[in-house]
């Protein structure tokens, strides 16, 4: 499967350089906001085009576990584990540990 260039999301430029915590109620730029406003639509587009959505984690000030957990757990719950695993690619050179961590979030969803 080829990665279409339009199916590329850089959190720092497409969403926020300072991602926050889990919910809207926690403050600005939450994981819930990222999922509902950006990730959900971008992933749907990638699915429609039978492409892989690439998400670049680099360029932000840093992430809380709750932000990433909320965004990718919701994605997995809404689209299914198999779809997410086959149509999503996470990249990061600054914080490569997050790639396996997000992978765990996705696999842990029941």
């Amino acid at each position: 499967m080829q990665i279409a260039t339009k199916h590329f999301l850089k959190i720092s430029s497409d969403f926020s350089e300072t991602p926050g915590a889990r919910y809207y109620t926690d403050g600005h730029d939450s994981g819930q906001e990222f999922y509902e406003k950006i990730l959900c639509h971008a992933f749907q587009e990638a699915l429609d085009d039978k492409a892989v959505l690439t998400i670049d984690l680099d360029g932000t000030e840093g992430y809380a576990t709750s932000f990433l957990d909320e965004a990718f757990m919701r994605l997995t719950k809404d689209f299914g584990k198999n779809e997410v695993l086959s149509h999503l690619k996470i990249i990061s050179t600054e914080e490569p540990d997050w790639i396996s961590e997000i992978d765990n979030y996705i696999k842990d969803v029941e």
Binding site: T18, A21, D26, H28, G62, Y63, A64, D69, D108
Partner: protein
Amino acid sequence: MSKKNKRRDIARLKSKQRKDLKNKRRFKKYILSQNKFIRRRFPKSKRSRSESTNSYFGQAIEKKIIINVPEKFSINQDIESVLFFVYKNKKTVENGRFNQFIVDFSKVTRIDDGAMTILLSLFYDMSYKRIKVGFNNLPTNAAAKSFIEQSGFIKYFTGPLAKVKNDGLNVTLKKGESTILQRESATIIHKSMKTVMGLEMRNQKLQGMLIELMTNSVNHAYLNNEREKTWYISTNHYIDQNKVEFCFVDNGDGIINTINFKFKDRYFTSNEELLERAFDGEFRSRTKLANRGKGLIVIKNNHKNMTIKGLKVITNNVFLDFDSSSAIKLKTPFSGTFYSWVIDKTCK
């Protein structure tokens, strides 16, 4: 007016006068008993330092109190004396007897960032109860005086000495109310990295940790949701050593109380063990959902991976020192959570 009516009016008047007199006597007796209570409750030495008045109902309201900061006001050197001071003053605030606190530092010989941050967080929280906090005397001890002047903590107090201008621009105190301020924490980190590395830069792992701390305070630290959920971050820059000391404090219910509230059925030999296990990720958060409650693990991992150094945690009756891997039971409980750590050039 007939003679009969006149007589009746006079009788009513006399009766009213008798009642008033009776009430006056009763009121006087009540005031006297209250004064006796004040004399019994507060020793003369304390009374002489506070202005007391009696309200209309005779209830004793002491308006102003001068509180002497203990000689060793340092988390690193005498943690018990700091916590006892905080505990005692929290109780005084809860009693609602005073509406003005004057802090006197004159006896202080040892002082550090952690103790000052806890003190400031306590006083800032007092302002919600419309209590004014001023500050009276600088320490007579030269080293302690120099610390207060140069650290810049002085600018966060009100009162006569707050006008004393100092060169201390080192300390930044940030307060949050029921929300996570990740943009502000990013700014704090940029400035800290400039002190450590010489130029403003990001530190993603530290930023992640600060968000976890703020999230814990806002979402878990306060079991009573109606309370103001406040937290405080202070940073003290030691420019000549390329080092920054961070302190984070909330005056919530503390990690141990929060865990005990949720896991009532669990048995642990001690609170020290419970806290150590919490940082190992033994407990999920109160939401009971998978992947939650990872904040404490992130904090511990940051110390393990040398992102930060000298991590210390005080919560309820436990002091956890990550450098020496020791957990100490405290005599005086701290109802809240306090973290302190350092970043310097050796950190990754």
